[in-house]
């Protein structure tokens, strides 16, 4: 399984300000390695975020997202102690889920 995501969910009023860093190569399929072979595509395709198990944000993305993707988004109606989880799935079917507590340190 891939390395854990780094997620930060800080609370501003009732809005959770979420920033996430995913560890992923995001290979475009256009790059060649040192010996001239094309490096096959390997990139995250879908991302979902849930607040206390309820979907709040989602994304379908392409290989044009930078390596080790960073995203930020804002979730309404959050309070301290809520659980925010993020899941990604890549084009090889690998997936990873990580969870943080909103407003937690």
């Amino acid at each position: 399984m891939a390395d854990p995501m780094k997620i930060r969910a800080s609370l501003q009023g009732d809005v959770a300000d979420v920033r996430v860093l995913m560890a992923h190569p995001m290979e475009t399929g256009q790059r060649k390695d040192a010996s001239g072979n094309v490096v096959p595509q390997h990139f995250i395709q879908t991302i979902t975020a849930q607040l206390n198990g309820k979907p709040v944000f989602g994304a379908d993305i392409s290989q044009a997202i930078s390596r080790n993707p960073v995203f930020a988004f804002k979730v309404k109606g959050a309070k301290a102690g809520d659980k925010l989880s993020i899941t990604w799935i890549d084009n090889k079917g690998d997936k990873r889920t990580d969870e943080v507590v909103v407003g937690g340190g």
Binding site: K32, F57, F73, V75, S85, D98
Partner: protein, 155 residues
């Protein structure tokens, strides 16, 4: 450093992640309900990608704010902030027009997220970054030119 505390934390993290993975697996068909749109992602022009997504005929709007550097020093990591001030915004899509495959992604904010997203994209050469916002079933668009001095694609 207290070693036993570290181990406990690590254990708790692992089980937490597993439980969340199970929950996510079961609950997934919610956000981003539409399947990953291969036709749009494979399109070689922004127009074709927008057509595949049903965005043809999007109306220019000044209520979409795109914050991106005028000149990106490193095309491999270009930070882009998008805010939609259009009421009822449900999704934000991004196209980097000069990339080999312009369609970069769609962000679904219809289920409790504010109409804002920050992302970092690869931009191969200087290109307009086009954004399409869907609100109330209608499509709105805006674009911002980003100049790239070192490309983000290829080695």
């Amino acid at each position: 450093m207290d070693r036993s505390r570290r181990i406990v934390l690590k254990g708790a993290g692992a089980t937490g992640a597993l439980a969340a993975a199970l929950a996510a697996g079961l609950l997934r068909p919610g956000v981003a309900a539409a399947a990953w749109n291969k036709a749009a992602f494979d399109a070689k022009t922004t127009a074709d990608a927008m057509k595949a997504l049903g965005y043809a005929g999007a109306v220019e709007s000044k209520d979409i704010q795109i914050r991106a550097p005028e000149i990106a020093e490193n095309g491999a990591v270009v930070p882009i902030d998008i805010t939609s001030n259009i009421p009822g915004t449900t999704s934000i899509s991004v196209f980097i027009e000069k990339n080999p495959f312009p369609y970069t992604g769609t962000f679904d904010v219809s289920q409790g997220a504010l109409p804002f997203v920050h992302l970092r994209a690869k931009i191969g050469e200087s290109s307009p970054v086009r954004v399409v916002v869907t609100a109330g079933g209608k499509h709105f668009t805006a674009a911002k030119e980003v100049k790239v001095t070192i490309g983000g694609c290829g080695g």
